[in-house]
Amino acid sequence: MADRWLAGFVLALSGVYLFATSRLPSLEIGDPLGPKAFPFLIGGLGCITAAWLFVESLHRRPGTPAGEQPAARHHLPAVIAVMAWMFVFYFLIERLGFLLSCALFLAGLTAYFNRGRWLMNAAVYLGFPVGVYLAFTQILGISLPRGVLPF
C-alpha cells in the first residue's frame, strides 16, 4: 500500500516538475534544445517510473512483504524530535555561536540517548565542540561563528 502512495507522490511531483519546466522562459540562443528539453525528459521519466512502481505493487502478492522483515519498529515521534532538535541547533548556531549551540545540542542528545552516564556525556559535549572549534579555526583555517563568546 505504501508503494502505491509513493507512486502517486512521484506522479504528482513529476507533474509539478513538468509544469514548472513549461513555465521556464525559453531563450533559444546557441543550442537548439534550450534549457527546457532535458527537464521535460526527466519529468516524463518520472511519470514512467511512477507507473512502473504502481505495476510492480500490483504484482506483489498481498501478505508477503518484500524481502526481509523490517528490522526495527517505527518510533516516528522520536525521529521528528531529533530533527526538531537539529533545527534548534541550526537556528542558534549563528546567534549563540558554534561552541555554545553545539554543546547544547550534544548535551541534549546524549542526556536522552546515553542516559545516566554523566561523566562520559560531559566529556563528549564539552570535548567535541572545543576540539572541532580549535581544529577548524586553528589548523584548517575555516571560521565558525563565534556568537556571544569573546573567543
Binding site: G30, P39, M83, F105
Partner: protein, 505 residues
C-alpha cells in the same frame, strides 16, 4: 614505455612522506568507518570532504580512496563479532563469520578476512593498473552521444540492481536528476527550479545531499533502532591466526573471490554486495562440503571478503578511465574530483599521470598498512563496537552539521541538510535505494551537457544516440540492465537461502 615511466612516477608521488601519512590516515579512518554499522564509506567520505578543501588534491584523493578500501577491511569486524555488517558489502560475511565467532574461532575468521582482503586488494590493483590504459585509450573514441549513452547505462544499471525494487531504484535516479537540474543552466544562463532560494542558483550542493541521505538519514533510522537495544559484541577468543587447514581451504576462495569481485566491480550497478553473493555462491557450489556453509565455514568468510576488496579496485576502472562512476561510493569520489577541479576520464591519464598513478599506487601501500593495522590491532578497533550508540549518534550528527556549515557558509545549507536527512530516513523506511540518487545528482549536469552537445552536432536529430556501434552496444546493455532484475526475481523465487540484502552504500 611512457606508461611504465608514469607508473614509476606514481610510486614517487605515493611515497612522499605527506602522502604516506594521508594513506595511513585514510586507512585508519576507513577501518573505523567500515566497522561502525550505520556509517558507510559514502557517508564517511562525504563527512570528511569539507576538511580536505585546503589539501593538495592528490593527497586528498589518496586519503579518500583509503577510506573506501579501508572500510572493506573494517566492515568485517562488526559482521563477525556482532552479526551486523559494518557496510552492506559485508552482509555475506555474517553468514559464516558470526557462527565462527560463536564457536571461538573469531580470531581465525578475522585473520583470514584480513589476509583475504589484502591478497584480493593487491591483485585488484595490479589488474586495475593493467586495464587502465587500454580502457582510457578506448574511451578517447567516445563523443558526446557515446558519453551520454554510457552515463545512461551506468545510471540504469545502478537503479536496477541496488535494492529490491528496480522501480524504486529508477525513482531514486529520477529524483536525483531533478535535484541536479536545480540552479542556473550553464548553457543558457537560465535559472531553473530554484524555488526563490538564492543559494540554489549554484545548484544544490552535492555534499549536503550525500551527508543528509547517508549520514543524517542513517542516524535518524538509528534513533529507532536505539529503542530496540544493542547487540553486545562477542569477545575475540584465541589467537588472531588460523590453522594450516583453514588456510589451505581458503586459498582457492580468496583467489576466485578476488577475481569475481574485480569483474563485478567494473560493471556499474553491481558493486560489492552482489560480488560477495556471487563469490559465496560459487564457493558453496565448488565445495566438497557445501553443508558446512552457513554454520561457520572459513571459506565462507574468505570468499566474500576477497570479493568486496576486489570489487573496490574494479570500481576504480570506470571512475578513473571513463570518468563515469558505477556505484554510490564512486559517485561521491567523482564529486570529490570535481570539487577539486579535476575531471577524471581518459584525458586525465595524459594530463595528470602523476595524480592517477600516485592514487593507484598509493593503494598498494594502503593495503599493506591495512593488513598490518588489522591483524594485531583489530581487537583494539573492535573496542569501538562497545561505544554507546547514543554517543555515536550525537557525534555523527555533530560532524555532519559542522562539515556542511563550513562548506555552505550559511544556515540555509543546514536546513537543506535536515530536509535530505528526513528524505534519507524515508528512503530507508520505504526501501528506496539512495545510491542511484547520488549517482544521478553527480551525473545529471554532465549528462544534460553531452545530450545537448550531441543534439547540436546532429542538428536536433535524436538518431545520433544510435548512430555508432558503441552507442548501439550501450543501448543493448541498458536494455539488459532493465530486464536483468526481472529475470533475477524469477530465479530468486526458487528456494535459496542466499538473499540479496540491499544496502546504502
Amino acid at each position: 614505455m611512457e606508461t611504465l615511466n608514469a607508473i614509476l612516477g606514481g610510486f614517487a608521488v605515493a611515497a612522499q612522506p605527506m602522502n604516506l601519512f594521508f594513506v595511513f590516515l585514510g586507512a585508519v579512518m576507513g577501518t573505523v568507518i567500515g566497522m561502525l554499522p550505520g556509517i558507510g564509506p559514502a557517508a564517511g567520505i562525504a563527512l570528511l570532504l569539507p576538511v580536505t578543501f585546503g589539501m593538495e588534491p592528490v593527497s586528498a584523493l589518496i586519503m579518500l580512496a583509503g577510506i573506501y578500501y579501508g572500510a572493506m577491511y573494517g566492515n568485517t569486524a562488526s559482521a563477525i563479532l556482532i552479526n551486523t555488517p559494518g557496510t552492506a558489502s559485508a552482509a555475506m560475511t555474517t553468514v559464516d563469520g558470526y557462527p565462527l565467532a560463536k564457536s571461538g574461532r573469531g580470531g581465525a575468521a578475522l585473520a583470514i578476512a584480513a589476509i583475504a582482503s589484502f591478497i584480493a586488494g593487491t591483485m585488484g590493483i595490479i589488474i586495475l593498473s593493467l586495464l587502465a590504459v587500454p580502457f582510457a585509450t578506448f574511451a578517447l573514441r567516445f563523443g558526446p552521444a557515446e558519453y551520454f549513452m554510457l552515463m545512461a547505462f551506468s545510471l540504469t544499471a545502478v537503479s536496477a540492481l541496488t535494492g529490491k525494487s528496480p522501480a524504486k531504484g529508477a525513482i531514486s535516479a529520477v529524483l536525483g536528476l531533478m535535484v541536479a537540474s536545480i540552479g542556473i543552466d550553464l548553457q543558457s544562463g537560465q535559472a531553473r527550479f530554484t524555488m526563490g532560494i538564492p543559494e540554489f542558483l549554484d545548484g544544490v550542493g552535492l555534499l549536503v545531499v550525500i551527508v543528509g541521505l547517508f549520514a543524517v538519514g542513517e542516524c535518524l533510522r538509528n534513533v529507532e533502532k536505539w529503542f530496540e537495544g544493542t547487540l553486545q559484541p562477542i569477545p575475540i577468543r584465541g589467537k588472531l591466526w588460523f590453522t594450516r587447514d583453514e588456510w589451505n581451504r581458503s586459498v582457492g576462495p580468496i583467489t576466485r573471490g578476488g577475481l569475481i569481485g574485480f569483474a563485478v566491480g567494473v560493471l556499474p550497478g553491481a558493486g560489492g554486495t552482489i560480488a560477495t553473493i556471487l563469490a559465496y555462491a560459487t564457493e558453496q557450489k565448488l565445495s566438497k562440503r557445501p553443508e558446512k556453509f552457513g554454520t561457520g565455514a572459513v571459506e565462507g568468510v574468505a570468499a566474500p571478503e576477497a570479493a568486496n576488496n576486489g570489487s573496490t579496485c574494479g570500481a576504480f576502472v570506470p571512475l578513473l578511465t571513463l570518468g563515469v562512476p558505477g556505484s554510490g561510493v564512486t559517485a561521491v569520489l567523482l564529486g570529490a574530483f570535481i570539487m577539486y577541479g579535476i575531471q577524471p576520464g581518459p584525458m586525465l591519464f595524459q594530463n595528470r599521470p602523476d595524480l592517477v598513478w600516485g592514487l593507484i599506487n598509493s593503494m598498494y601501500i594502503g593495503n599493506i598498512m591495512l593488513l598490518v593495522l588489522n591483524l594485531p590491532m583489530i581487537p583494539l578497533f573492535a573496542k569501538m563496537l562497545y561505544a554507546p550508540p547514543g554517543v555515536l549518534l550525537a557525534i555523527i550528527l555533530g560532524i555532519a552539521s559542522v562539515g556542511i556549515y563550513s562548506v555552505g557558509g550559511s544556515t540555509t545549507s543546514l536546513y537543506v541538510l535536515i530536509f535530505f536527512g528526513a528524505a534519507g530516513y524515508l528512503f530507508r523506511r520505504l526501501e528506496i535505494p539512495a545510491p542511484p540518487l547520488i549517482l544521478a545528482l553527480v551525473l545529471g549536469g554532465i549528462m544534460e551537457q553531452s545530450f545537448r552537445q550531441a543534439m547540436t552536432i546532429s542538428g536536433g536529430n535524436p538518431k545520433v544516440f544510435v548512430g555508432s556501434t558503441i552507442c548501439i552496444i550501450l543501448l543493448a546493455m541498458i536494455v539488459v540492465a532493465v530486464v536483468m532484475p526481472l529475470l533475477m526475481s524469477r530465479l530468486r523465487a526458487l528456494p535459496g537461502r542466499v538473499a540479496a540484502r540491499s544496502g546504502s552504500g
